[in-house]
Symmetry: C2
Subunit: 133 residues, 2 copies
């Protein structure tokens, strides 16, 4: 049946969870507007909307670490997406990790790194990365 994605609650955007379709690992969370959802589905590669740069942002445009879409799921309220992907390259995080969720938040307010780096950011990114989400 037709579904209308609810872009209203997040000011024209929906959060999009990126999950490795094989391992189940959650890799990152980005936001999409209607155009980036269309572009993601049309191209088969993840395209976010960058809130800080206020424009479409194709994941992997500078690193080559493109996210190949395997399936897009929508939640019951149609206000969040789960994009199951095949990630190209050793990791999605600009800090050199496979997943952006590489730190555990302790109840003390401290964060502890719980993953190993999988690549050197300086070898992939020519310039320091802006925050994009």
């Amino acid at each position: 049946m037709p579904v209308t994605i609810d872009f209203v609650k997040s000011d024209g955007l929906v959060p999009a969870i990126i999950q490795d379709h094989r391992s189940g690992e959650v890799l990152m969370l980005g936001f999409m507007n209607a155009q980036s959802v269309d572009e993601t589905q049309r191209s088969g590669e993840v395209v976010f909307f960058s809130r800080s740069r206020n424009k479409l942002w194709k994941k992997g445009e500078s690193s080559g670490h493109v996210l190949k879409v395997r399936e897009v799921l929508v939640d019951c309220d149609a206000d969040a997406l789960l994009v199951r992907v095949e990630p190209l390259g050793p990791g999605v995080c600009h800090e050199g990790y496979r997943s952006c969720f590489f730190r555990r938040l302790e109840s003390t307010g401290n964060a502890i790194i719980v993953a190993e780096q999988t690549f050197a950011p300086s070898a992939v990114y020519a310039q320091p990365q802006e925050k994009k989400s």
Copy 2:
């Protein structure tokens, strides 16, 4: 090292991905404000902030389907959380599914149900559920 969660980008909130810590299945996405993050960590059970009701919302308060926190991860920009949980009960979705992401979004704009119901909502919820996220 200390981490400061960035509540600014989403108007005082951060998106919180809920993942089954054993199966890796992504169960739902909710939002948290600072108070609900504190309450989640203090109680060891997931507490969201409901945007539609504008107040804290303890997951499972009516259904009993509480989400027991196993670990909380924070992303590189500290503007999204990944909460790995042990879910109590047969599912988190008020429509009777284990995960709220039970529909696949096709490029046609149609959504196709790709999961089996795991419980009858009418047996769990006394009244029709409001949208909460």
